[in-house]
């Protein structure tokens, strides 16, 4: 494997590790929510997305779709922290919750994303909320990387979807 292809094969891992680290530091340091456990990075054939899932795409020399899925109780806790004890009128609850899910995802991904391939910029799309999301199935040359974070309020699931050649199977990724 020449140097260039080695870089291409490993860069998804190089991108995911800072995001995994930032999910933990964001929850623990900014939101005061302890992360009890972080799973290994796995590569499942399909992903069952959580009901509250936010998607961000990257462009430039790194092309991935990244999602963060939130358990409802955990998302409610994030809302509570963001609102700093202030009451939300009933009519605003859904808008506030969606806005916070998108904001949390944007902050985590934006803070953590870096370009391990070259010095060029990576751009991220605005966050998009996927309503009532169901299942993503792997197709042809796509590949998933999947990580779960467990807190006392429930889980956050991190998924990265990209071309197969961006993934390095010999290290932490475990095919399922």
């Amino acid at each position: 494997m020449n140097d260039e292809s080695k870089v291409i094969h490993t860069y998804t891992k190089d991108i995911l590790h800072p995001i995994i680290k930032r999910v933990k530091t964001y929850l623990e340091e900014e939101m005061n929510i302890d992360v009890f456990n972080t799973s290994d990075i796995t590569c499942p054939k399909n992903i069952h997305l959580k009901k509250n899932t936010v998607m961000i795409g990257t462009s430039g020399s790194i092309k991935l779709i990244i999602t963060l899925g939130f358990d409802e109780v955990l998302l409610n806790k994030l809302v509570e922290v963001f609102m700093e004890g202030e009451d939300i009128g009933d009519c605003d609850i859904e808008e506030v919750t969606n806005s916070i899910a998108c904001e949390v995802t944007n902050t985590i991904i934006g803070n953590a994303i870096d370009n391990p391939v070259d010095s060029s910029d990576i751009y991220i799309t605005p966050p998009v909320l996927i309503y009532e999301a169901k299942t993503l199935n792997k197709y042809k040359d796509s590949k998933f990387a999947f990580v779960t974070f467990i807190t006392k309020y429930g889980e956050i699931e991190l998924t990265a979807v990209g071309p197969k050649e961006q993934f390095e199977n010999e290290l932490e990724f475990k095919d399922q």
Binding site: E95, V96, S99, I100, N106, N111, I113, I124
Partner: protein, 126 residues
């Protein structure tokens, strides 16, 4: 006391930034959800400071900074971004923005960023 315009497409961020700025003793004179609303506001008002999300629907941060500076070059602009390494941040600063804040936004970060532009608002005990 500064007169501040908050430009932000995220409802929750708009709310929190307004709250933090008010807690620092400044006056919120307006809010805008996108660049066009911000331009319209700036034509009729004179905010001493504008906080602005660098990526909003319709226009990128560099264009927005240039256009606002064309309306009044004295407006001070603080950009807000989740991605500090972005070339867009550097270009926005070159285009005339006075500073930027990396998300998550806190009252402390706003205080420090405002203090860099307006040192008279820094607490002498700091």
């Amino acid at each position: 006391m500064l007169d501040v315009l908050v430009v932000e497409d995220s409802m929750i961020m708009r709310r929190n930034i307004k709250k933090y700025i008010a807690s620092l003793g400044h006056n919120i004179i307006g809010e805008a959800k996108d660049a066009n609303e911000a331009f319209e506001f700036c034509k009729d008002h004179k905010p001493s400071l504008i906080t602005m999300d660098i990526s909003m629907p319709g226009m990128n941060g560099i264009e927005v900074v240039k256009k606002i500076k064309n309306i009044n070059k004295c407006f001070s602009i603080i950009m807000i971004t989740s991605y500090g390494k972005n070339e867009m941040v550097k270009s926005a600063l070159q285009a005339g923005a006075q500073g930027y804040i990396l998300k998550p936004v806190t009252a402390k970060k706003l205080y420090e960023s405002i203090g860099k532009i307006y040192p008279e608002y820094l607490d002498c005990t700091d």
